[in-house]
């Protein structure tokens, strides 16, 4: 069990020493049961930190934002940023390191172990509590959660309300960290791709029907893109203005720029966008499930990314987000890569 006092004292220690610029962690937002991301600048704020099953956000996104902010500053503060990272978050950091987007000394990682459980899924919990107001969710002793509602406490087995990604998690302890809290026993998952397998067993027509039904819902709010720690491209294919317009750019040049897909939420364009996003995240997505959680219309986006992760594993033996020195999936090759599909 992660001792919350240890977490607080570690945060206090690094903030006091001026070792980090600030710490990104989780706090209990006023009057809600959920954790919220918080930026701590002063040692005395460390008491705000919490660690419970509602800490589902992937805070690495803020590290990406920090890099952007730093690039704009004239005299940037080069101290590292402290971050409270779960297993999945630490894998996101590994991928960013692998791509040389950030340096190792840019982050001070306080790793927290999810141990034998993980974080909860809000939607599943809402179903379970059947409309009762939740006040608190805590880790139980053995693979369960203690949920406090207005009517008293409920003891719910973890598997029932745990987020889908946590059921298939292969990194319950952070892969990289400067200070690791909690139990360090690795949890074995029997079938890390079970959710995709169900979809794979469908026929091509059923798959297509499933995806068109889902993509119809997409309103192209790009919440998936905004929440994703890996979606850090300066120019995204969906943005209409993705080339530099200067005073010298002629009308003809503007007219002839390549417009790959329309911005309007039409079915065909929605699936195009999600395909592009999936292929761009192939071998990079670490399955933190933020896209799916952020999606206001509940599109199972994880199913696309998880499939890519599965293929990377099966075709190329590539594990995403475990080794920062390994080259990225599609920037390397082996002589023996499968080519049975090539004539």
């Amino acid at each position: 069990m992660v001792n919350i006092e240890d977490l607080k004292s570690e945060a206090r220690r690094v903030l006091k020493g001026g070792k980090v610029k600030y710490i990104i962690g989780y706090e209990r937002a006023s009057e809600t049961w959920k954790a919220n991301p918080v930026f701590l600048k002063n040692p005395e704020d460390a008491d705000k930190l919490v660690w419970d099953p509602t800490c589902f956000h992937n805070l690495v996104r803020f590290v990406v934002d920090e890099k952007r902010r730093k690039a704009k500053e004239k005299q940037p503060d080069t101290r590292p940023v402290g971050i409270v990272a779960k297993g999945c978050d630490s894998r996101a950091i590994i991928v960013l390191l692998q791509e040389k987007f950030i340096e190792r000394m840019d982050v001070y990682i306080i790793g927290v172990s999810c141990e034998s459980t993980g974080v909860i899924d809000e939607r599943k919990l809402a179903k379970k509590t059947a409309g009762k107001t939740v006040q608190k969710v805590e880790f139980g002793e053995k693979q369960n959660y203690i949920v406090t509602t207005e009517d008293g406490t409920m003891d719910i087995p973890a598997a029932e309300i745990m987020a889908d990604r946590c059921l298939e998690c292969i990194a319950n302890i952070p892969v990289v960290s400067d200070h690791l809290l909690g139990d360090k026993t690795k949890r074995a998952v029997a079938r890390p791709f079970q959710s995709v397998e169900k979809l794979e067993s469908l026929s091509q027509e059923d798959k297509w029907k499933f995806w068109t039904d889902q993509m119809k819902k997409c309103i192209r709010c790009y919440a998936c893109r905004s929440a994703c720690p890996m979606c850090y491209c300066d120019e995204c294919v969906v943005d209409t203005i993705n080339f530099a317009v200067t005073a010298d750019t002629t009308a003809e040049e503007k007219a002839q720029r390549i417009k790959w897909l329309e911005k309007s939420p039409i079915d065909s364009e929605n699936i195009f966008y999600h395909l592009v996003r999936a292929i761009h995240l192939a071998g990079r997505c670490i399955d933190c499930g933020e896209c799916e959680r952020a999606c206001p219309v509940n599109i199972p986006l994880r199913m696309l990314n998880k499939k890519m992760e599965k293929e990377a594993k099966e075709l190329f033996g590539y594990d995403v987000g475990f080794d920062a020195d390994q080259p990225a999936l599609i920037s390397c090759f082996r002589d023996g890569d499968p080519e049975d599909f090539i004539r």
Binding site: Q204, W208, S268, I271, E311
Partner: protein
């Protein structure tokens, strides 16, 4: 009388091998179906997945990416990258329900005009029973 469906294939051919191979097929007067629209690219490794999605979105019934044989790439390793990248694209397209036959890859060298015509013939024959590709096609 109903007209037989003629599939439309977009072929991304690498400049150094496959494109020369298709040229050879042409100058040797080998016959092959006229359903293919070749697009010359500098290397199969330069084919972005976006090109493939875009071709399907604009109404292609099939997409072919063809490059040099492994080890023969003009840019030493471009086709090795292509092989990895496009394997993922193929899996992704299958995953969303597109017929797997619609996206093909081949290695055609500059001397293999015969092989090129055979690939196109086979491809067209495979696409004919599938009918027009309407799944990824842009809605009007």
């Amino acid at each position: 009388m109903t007209e037989e469906f003629e599939p439309r294939i977009i072929a991304f051919l690498c400049k150094w091998c496959s494109s020369a191979g298709s040229d050879l097929a042409g100058v040797s007067r080998m016959e092959y179906p006229p359903n293919v629209t070749p697009i010359q690219v500098m290397c199969s490794g330069s084919v972005s997945p976006l090109y493939i999605f875009s071709a399907f979105s604009r109404g292609a019934d099939g997409v072919l990416v063809s490059g040099c044989h492994p080890g023969d790439c003009h840019y030493i390793k471009g086709n090795f990258y292509a092989r990895r990248k496009l394997a993922m694209v193929k899996k992704l397209l299958e995953h969303v329900g597109l017929d797997p036959e619609r996206f093909q890859m081949s290695w055609v060298s500059a001397a293999e005009g015969q092989k090129y015509t055979q690939i196109i013939k086979d491809f067209v024959n495979e696409l004919k029973p599938l009918g027009p590709q309407m799944k990824l096609r842009r809605n009007p």
